[in-house]
């Protein structure tokens, strides 16, 4: 099992099975690290994200498909059409594990096909097949058609109409409702005329240390099950974060104008559990079960399928001033069906709603659609129109940054984005670390690249263990900017390692049950790889620096590490964080200092690159 990857040239149709470079694995692991290095080398400077020169990579982690708790993840990367810089997205489900069982760790696509195609992977049988019959189908139809043709046990990853129509925040979906949503990678897949990857693997699970495998994994399972978070995750998933965020003033509301929403109870976890929950769902080897199935039984928003998590509830709910839960559930369902990122979808609609409120956008611009806050019928309608680029939806399909550039008239200041990607569901004036993490993340505004949640509800013991007691109480205080630079830096280093081994952030960061030593143990028992904790930390740091070098090639400097003016200059108007702003500059300077990046340019210094054995890759800095 594994040890090799597929390289597929969509122009010529040539498929190669290539061995993994062991040295590359020792330097970057697999998953996010592997793709960071491969795509850094393969994507030329000045590439247009929609051109055949863009490279689209899919990779499993070293532990994906193992028995390590929550080891279901795969990573997708390319040059992003939304941001024009490093694009990366991740998902759980079963597709990644299935790819492992078919015998492959990763797939790299180059070029572009002239006609719609899909890739079939059935162990050694790998073929590019004609996809004209499924081109134009939605994600659920595509899943059904390919599994009917190739076997119900096949696992399907695909784009919907949004990816085909090059919506700049199109997602890549797998297992029907799992989304690699951010960075618009679905549009890259659409530009390459690649509709789907259908995988069936019949290989055996081979482990490096069978004598100790089950005992070790059983111990990790028991720890995860005993963790106090596990029960609540299964009961509420992430849906009850709505209530928590309301109470810390971090719930993005009215396009991030404020962090509290009067209608929060109507779109929260209790409302979903009470009226719409069918049952929790788990992905491969998952004990947390934060996924769910829900149903709206009747009415205009009727559906049955995957449930939104916190990010979608916030983006399509409070961010748009919408307390109609059935419309939130349904627009999320449509986003999955057509393959779109709900964060950018809600963020873009919220931008339009604020521009409407200010009279910048009128019915003349929108084709008669009323964009008053909370107009749920308009939100649902726009979700469809964006996916198909119809009418006003064609403008919004470009994302809020480009839409504002087109509209002008002062609408630019209502764009709540970093590096052209919409900020996720964290009102950063209520959690300073999230403000910093949004600007330092490699893929543009992003809460997951660093996922610095240790100050969210207080993990004082974990902060003491991971950083030391001298950082308390400031680091645990979400409103205090002190020590957030080192916190975000260390969290980023760890999170990219987690994304390189195929684990979930739930279990490694919140709750912070597993840390480097557990990852090292998993790699030894499962893969037979010996890494010390220090070596893993160094790899994490290397990956983050390589991502920064990639972005530097596409023009990123410190000037781009900026939040919207609202969040750094306007005090939060109401709620528990009233009066707060994000003290970005001080946190950013501390961050650069710990990163070993030049304080003026925001780029890695020669000393840092030498320390991380990135001298060769760093030569790209001299070209720009």
């Amino acid at each position: 099992m594994g040890g090799r990857f597929l390289r597929v040239d969509l122009m010529s149709g040539r498929i190669e099975k290539k061995p993994l470079d062991e040295q590359l694995v020792h330097k970057y692991l697999l998953g996010a690290g592997f793709l960071s290095k491969m795509l850094f080398d393969m994507i030329p400077d000045n590439t247009d994200p929609f051109s055949p020169a863009n490279v689209l990579g899919f990779a499993t982690g070293l532990l994906t498909g193992s028995m390590f708790p929550q080891s279901s993840r795969h990573v997708i990367a390319a040059l992003s059409p939304l941001t024009g810089i490093w694009g990366e997205s991740h998902a759980a489900g079963f597709w990644g594990a299935e790819l492992k069982f078919a015998g492959y760790d990763a797939i790299i696509f180059t070029g572009a096909s002239e006609r719609p195609v899909y890739l079939l992977v059935e162990d050694s049988n790998v073929q590019l097949l004609e996809a004209s019959s499924i081109w134009g189908k939605d994600v659920f139809e595509t899943d059904g058609a390919l599994r009917a043709k190739h076997g119900r046990q096949s696992r399907v990853l695909s784009i919907g109409q949004a990816g085909e129509n090059l919506v700049r925040f199109a997602a890549i979906m797998n297992d029907r409702d799992r989304a690699s949503a951010r960075s618009g990678l679905g549009a890259v897949m659409g530009s390459k005329k690649l509709k789907a990857i259908c995988v069936r693997g019949g290989g055996k699970l081979e482990v490096a240390d069978p004598a100790n495998y089950l005992r070790t994994m059983d111990e990790l399972y028991k720890r995860m099950l005993a963790n106090p978070f596990t029960r609540g995750r299964a009961e509420f998933g992430t849906t009850s974060l709505i209530e928590l965020m309301q109470h810390i003033g971090r719930l993005p509301t009215y396009n991030m104008r404020q962090g509290v929403f009067d209608g929060y109870e109507k779109i929260g976890g209790h409302a979903i559990n009470r009226g719409y929950l069918i049952k929790p769902r788990a992905d491969w080897s998952c004990l947390q079960r934060c996924g769910r199935f829900t149903s709206v039984p009747d009415g205009p928003y009727a559906y049955t399928g995957g449930s939104p998590e916190f990010e979608s509830q916030a983006a399509l709910g409070s961010r748009c001033g919408n307390d109609n839960i059935e419309s939130v559930l349904y627009s999320h369902h449509l986003a999955n069906k057509y393959g779109m990122d709900t964060i950018s979808l809600g963020g873009t609609i919220a931008w339009a709603m604020e521009a409407w409120e200010k009279g910048i956008l009128t019915a003349k611009d929108t084709g008669g659609i009323d964009l008053s806050w909370g107009n749920h019928e308009s939100i649902v309608k726009l979700t469809e129109m964006i996916a198909f680029r119809k009418g006003f939806g064609d403008l919004l399909a470009e994302g809020s940054f480009r839409a504002a550039k087109t509209i002008g008239r002062g609408s630019e200041k209502f764009v709540m984005a970093v590096k052209k990607q919409e900020i996720a569901g964290q009102e950063p004036r209520a959690q300073k670390s999230m403000g910093l993490a949004a600007v330092t993340a490699a893929r543009g505004a992003d809460h997951l690249y660093g996922f610095p949640v240790l100050d969210e509800v207080g993990f004082d013991d974990e902060i003491k263990k991971r950083f030391g007691s001298k950082y308390l109480p400031q680091m645990a205080d979400r409103l205090n900017p002190t020590y957030k630079g080192i916190m975000v830096k260390e969290c980023e280093d760890y999170m990219v390692v987690v994304e390189s081994v195929g684990l979930c952030k739930y279990g490694t960061q919140i709750p912070p049950e597993f840390y480097y030593e557990d990852v090292a143990l998993g790699l030894k028992i499962h893969n037979g790889l010996d890494f010390t904790v220090e070596e893993l930390k160094r790899i994490g740091e290397r990956i983050v620096n390589l991502n920064r070098l990639f972005n530097a090639r596409f023009g990123i400097t410190r000037d781009d590490d900026a939040l919207p003016e609202r969040l750094v200059e306007e005090e939060a108007p109401v709620g528990p964080s009233k009066g707060q702003v994000v003290e970005l500059e001080s946190m950013l300077s501390e961050y650069y200092s710990h990163r070993g990046w030049d304080s003026k340019s925001g780029l890695p210094t020669r000393t840092t690159l030498r320390k991380l054995s990135l001298e060769q890759e760093g030569q790209s800095l001299t070209r720009h």
Binding site: P228, S240, L244, H247, H270, L448, E456, P473, P511
Partner: protein, 93 residues
């Protein structure tokens, strides 16, 4: 003695069976004792750590949106009209 509103969330609300109650208490410690008296053993078994006498690990008590650990812990004084939120382990994004 201040009258405060205590709000319950997620699995804690399932135990209390109510969204919120009004409680009279001087400080958080006294408030928790009052909640134990009101909601009984099921509440204390779920929420309180018998060893430390405080909340179980990762349970979060906030006064007006601020964690008590960053105020004065269980001795945090309560003022008339304060909102106290009680959450089970929950977090993320």
């Amino acid at each position: 003695m201040a009258t405060v509103t205590v709000k319950f969330f997620a699995t804690v609300r399932e135990i209390t069976g109510t969204k919120s109650v009004e409680i009279d208490a001087h400080n958080v410690e006294q408030l928790l004792q009052e909640l134990i008296r009101t909601f009984g053993k099921r509440f204390s078994d779920a929420v309180m750590d018998p060893k430390s006498g405080g909340l179980k690990r990762f349970y979060s008590c906030m006064v007006n949106g601020k964690r008590i650990e960053l105020l004065n812990g269980y001795q945090t004084a309560l003022n008339q009209g304060d909102t106290v939120a009680l959450f089970p382990p929950v977090g993320g994004g």
